[in-house]
């Protein structure tokens, strides 16, 4: 594909995706994986899992996963286009809805919409975890790391970065 075509594809795909991201950037991880690995063939499972991991250990919003994917597909321009496409449309929505929202504070439909979207975002995150575990966990050590990180992050107040560090060391030692 030509560079311009690639950039246009990135822009359209990610802008559309951003409007489906109920519950944040990680909620679209399964759909991102489906599009960039299975449909477009821009990267392998392993590369996707690795980029996801890099995005998690970068400070700041998780949306930088999209920046990395854009960079991998079409260089610096791809990174900027992908990021802008992922944030632009929803920022505009946020800007305009943000000012109107207060008026509907006690409307019953607002409560129902808000309550109805909670299980959707949880389900999307769960789906993301399933997809990611399937591409990242090729052996029992990896599977154990996933379970241990989930347990520690759920049950304790430790910074999850410690688990990432430990897991990275196990990987360096060639155990994963």
């Amino acid at each position: 594909m030509k560079q311009e075509d690639l950039l246009a594809t990135l822009a359209v795909q990610f802008a559309a995706l951003s409007l489906l991201a109920v519950g944040g950037a990680n909620a679209v991880a399964p759909e991102l994986h489906r599009q960039v690995v299975e449909v477009s063939g821009w990267m392998t499972d392993r590369q996707f899992a690795e980029m996801f991991a890099i995005a998690q250990v970068t400070p700041g919003p998780n949306v930088v996963l999209v920046t990395l994917i854009g960079y991998h597909v079409a260089g610096l321009a791809g990174a900027l286009v992908a990021t802008a496409a992922m944030c632009g449309p929803t920022c505009l929505v946020a800007y305009f809805v943000g000012t109107a929202w207060e008026r509907f504070r006690d409307a019953p439909w607002r409560t129902a919409v808000q309550a109805g979207l909670v299980p959707i975002s949880i389900g999307l995150l769960g789906a993301g975890a399933v997809v990611l575990a399937r591409v990242a966990d090729h052996n029992w050590t990896a599977f154990a790391i996933t379970l241990a990180t989930a347990a520690v992050a759920f049950c304790t107040r430790w910074n999850p970065l410690w688990m990432f560090g430990l897991a990275g060391l196990l990987g360096l030692a060639g155990l994963v």
Partner: protein, 191 residues
């Protein structure tokens, strides 16, 4: 809503200047490993007292409900409430600028050294941890829902996980079915 007018929360010293907004979101962004929200809350509610806890929860609930990266939406809503479009833009660039720059450096290194054995080993180790963190986040979000007596909500959660995570159906179609269904169930359950 801009300037020092109606948007100023009671008890706040004053509406933040554009520079203060930029610095605040930049700081929050750079401290936010594995989630920016707790840091944003600390800065805005506890340290600078730009919003009360309730105002913060309300603004954040809105950003959860809007599509897109939550904290990115939050920076826009927060910035615009105090300083209009310029405030939104400034808060957004403070939040996104540094992480995008950092991840681009990491991306370049990855493109160059991604196949070196020890880098691959390290990444093979942290990718499963990232999956685990995602499981924990989903569980943490589910916990208050289950404690309140969730009604039909868990069915929606499981349906979404199976349809998108296991069957790998396109998200658009799944959401077109599940979102209206979930809202209708929430409406019916509350009556």
């Amino acid at each position: 809503m801009s300037g020092n007018g109606a948007g100023t929360p009671p008890g706040a010293p004053r509406a933040p200047s554009l520079a203060a907004l930029f610095v605040a979101f930049l700081t929050v962004s750079l401290s936010g490993f594995g989630g920016v929200l707790p840091w944003a809350r600390r800065m805005i509610v506890e340290q600078r007292r730009w919003m009360t806890a309730d105002e913060f929860n309300d603004a954040y609930a809105l950003c959860n409900f809007l599509p897109g990266p939550n904290i990115v939406n939050f920076s826009v809503v927060f910035g615009s409430r105090f300083r209009g479009p310029a405030g939104a833009l400034v808060a957004l660039s403070g939040l996104l600028g540094p992480p995008v720059a950092i991840v681009l450096v990491l991306g370049t290194l990855y493109a160059r050294f991604g196949d070196v054995a020890f880098v691959r080993g390290f990444l093979a180790g942290i990718a499963p941890a990232a999956a685990g963190l995602m499981i924990a986040t989903a569980l943490k979000m589910a916990e208050p829902m289950l404690r309140r007596g969730a009604g039909p909500a868990p069915v929606i959660v499981v349906a979404a996980i199976i349809a998108i995570g296991v069957m790998r159906w396109p998200m658009l179609w799944v959401l077109l079915v599940l979102v209206p269904l979930s809202i209708a169930l929430a409406w019916w359950w509350r009556r």
